[in-house]
């Protein structure tokens, strides 16, 4: 759907990036401030012009330096949500929402009422932006962008200016959109927890270039990500399926790889496919099947890789049957246990350390289809 390959010099800063996205979903651009995320997305929207390269969406060329094509931003149909919301202060919420809708030539795939419903905007419609909270502003900005019936939705750190509580208020709406929109979403962030919660694909950026890109679960194992988020946040992201919930204890059983995890049901979606992050620092490696422990989760697997990331500590990759998880242990422990590749081990995980969220439920609600 989206294919972008551009180069741009700005002063001594050089952006040289190529990304592709083949399916609807959320592609997260993740990297520290000043890594070129903003320049990249401005080039995508048409608010900035690359020095050279090519940008294409759904077969339509936005930019091609060789052919001399540079479609103006107002014709690209890239819906943008900015960090500072940028609502028009002299319009009501309704006026803001209909601004793009009134100007689009594209066939509508989201109706005004559906959008108002989806983002809970009914009570706000006649208000002016100066009477909205930060979270409400961002919801209106998202609605405004979507009602222009965009072919791609771009979210530029939409939660960065919000405090923790307000972020929690907006995130569920973004999750809903991810699961219901049939257009690609580009999500720019430097908060890894947001990425973890929303992204299906990940692009890691640093110093104007792309370090790695791929599916989130695949990249969660990559050294590039480790170098960006720090060892404490490193952890494999694995796909899980909800097997059932014990009504008495409210503990959910999840299948992961060949094994099974038990996690607190609270905070998990009622049904569907899940994605779970298992932090490497929270995983204990045992060489014999453990018994009589308080730890509830134990996954059997084989060591597929032993890497030394920091002096004194090793990162052990364990194949648990179709999925790989990471465990961080001391180098001394690796020595004492005589860990080696191919060795059968058991990974012990405290159930409390599992972060999960629903993702692409098995019977997804109908998606809004972008008619092209």
């Amino acid at each position: 759907m989206l294919a972008l390959s551009i180069r741009k010099m700005r002063g001594s800063f050089r952006l040289d990036a190529a990304i592709t996205l083949q399916k609807p979903g959320v592609i997260a651009l993740f990297g520290p401030s000043g890594c070129g995320k903003s320049t990249l997305i401005h080039c995508l929207t048409g608010l900035e012009t690359p020095d050279e390269g090519r940008i294409e969406l759904n077969g339509e060329t936005f930019f091609d330096s060789q052919l001399g094509i540079d479609m103006p931003a107002e014709r690209r149909g890239v819906g943008c949500v900015f960090q500072d919301s940028r609502l028009f202060p002299h319009f009501t919420v309704r006026g803001n929402l209909t601004f793009g809708a009134a100007r689009t030539q594209r066939p509508a795939y989201i109706a005004f009422d559906d959008m108002v419903e989806l983002l809970d905007l009914r009570a706000l419609l006649e208000r002016r932006p100066n009477r909205l909270s930060g979270g409400e502003k961002q919801r209106v900005a998202i609605g405004r962008a979507l009602l222009s019936q965009p072919r791609l939705l771009l979210l530029d750190e939409p939660l960065a200016s919000l405090d923790h509580a307000r972020r929690g208020e907006v995130l569920p709406y973004l999750e809903t959109l991810r699961d219901r929109l049939a257009i690609p979403i580009v999500y720019v962030s430097h908060q890894f927890d947001e990425v973890l919660r929303l992204a299906t694909d990940l692009v890691l950026m640093r110093d104007g270039s792309i370090l790695a890109q791929g599916e989130l679960s695949e990249l969660s194992l990559s050294p590039a990500l480790r170098s960006m988020i720090g060892m404490d946040l490193v952890g494999a992201v694995v796909n899980a399926h909800l097997l059932g919930v014990d009504p008495d204890t409210d503990i959910a059983r999840l299948s992961v790889g060949q094994g099974e995890l038990k996690v607190a049901h609270k905070g998990l979606a009622a049904h569907g496919a899940l994605r779970v992050q298992l932090l490497a620092r929270d995983i204990i490696v045992a060489t014999a099947q453990p018994a009589q422990l308080s730890v509830r989760n134990c996954l059997a697997g084989r060591i597929s890789k032993i890497g030394s990331e920091q002096p004194g500590s090793d990162l052990i990759s364990i194949d648990i049957g179709g999925e790989t998880i990471l465990a961080r242990i001391t180098a001394a422990a690796t020595q004492d246990l005589q860990l080696h590749i191919g060795m059968r081990v058991w990974a012990l995980i405290k159930s409390v350390s599992i972060q999960g969220h629903s993702f692409a439920a098995p019977a997804p609600p109908p998606r809004f289809i972008a008619t092209e």
Binding site: G77, V78, C80, F88, F99, S148
Partner: protein
């Protein structure tokens, strides 16, 4: 004391006319100039800026003299206007309006630029991503958001225009009923023996006009601010 003579009423009406005409003619020009000077990136921008603001620092008499040279019947522009359209500016109220317009243009442009500087270009960018073309963005986003400055500029320029003296008297002279505006009438009264009472009346009238204008602009600014959601 506060019954104006016919001549004084005439000067008052003429002042309103001249100031109104000059402000009306300046309005589109000042909007275009303030936009070009704030957002434009073109060679000669600084030069244009300097030319627009020149009347602020020149003696008004010098401005009147330059106008006389350019727009006088034998001046390059004045001659062309007269031979092609039969328009004469010297010694006419249209000429008075021109002199007033040149003097008050920088005031109008300045007020608008301050306002335009406060319009977040990000809003225009947002409108762009929502499908608004250049004219659409200007009319629906930029212009409404800079309207406090437009209002302030018009009121300031109008008020200053009521009192423009040096450039007017130099360019179009002091002709009763044609170019004798309020300040010129006041000056004439001061030059006349027994003109004290008339001068006082005209001065009071000028003060009243000034206060009225300030109160009106204050009120309008508040209503516009409310409309803009500030």
């Amino acid at each position: 004391m506060f019954t104006l003579s016919a001549a004084e009423t005439q000067a008052f009406a003429l002042s309103l006319q001249v100031a109104g005409l000059s402000a009306a003619c300046n309005l589109p020009l000042a909007i275009a100039l303030s936009y070009a000077l704030t957002r434009g990136r073109f060679p000669g921008r600084r030069m244009l800026d300097a030319v627009v603001h020149l009347p602020l620092v020149l003696p008004p008499v010098a401005v009147g003299y330059v106008l006389l040279v350019l727009f006088g019947n034998r001046g390059p522009i004045g001659h062309w206007l007269f031979s092609h359209f039969g328009i004469q500016l010297v010694f006419t109220r249209a000429g008075a309006a021109l002199a007033t317009a040149v003097m008050s243009l920088p005031l109008m442009v300045r007020a608008m630029r301050i306002s335009l500087d406060n319009v977040d270009p990000g809003l225009e960018a947002a409108a762009r991503t929502l499908g608004a073309g250049p004219l659409d963005r200007f009319l629906n986003i930029t212009l409404p958001l800079m309207s406090p400055g437009i209002l302030a500029g018009v009121v300031t320029a109008f008020a200053a225009g009521l009192g423009e003296f040096g450039a007017v008297i130099t360019f179009v002279s002091n002709i009763p009923g044609e170019t004798r505006t309020l300040p010129l009438a006041l000056y004439t009264a001061l030059q006349t023996p027994d003109g004290d009472a008339a001068a006082a009346r005209l001065a009071l009238l000028s003060i009243a006009l000034g206060i009225g204008g300030l109160l009106l602009s204050e009120y309008l600014a508040r209503s516009i601010g409310k409309w803009l959601g500030r």
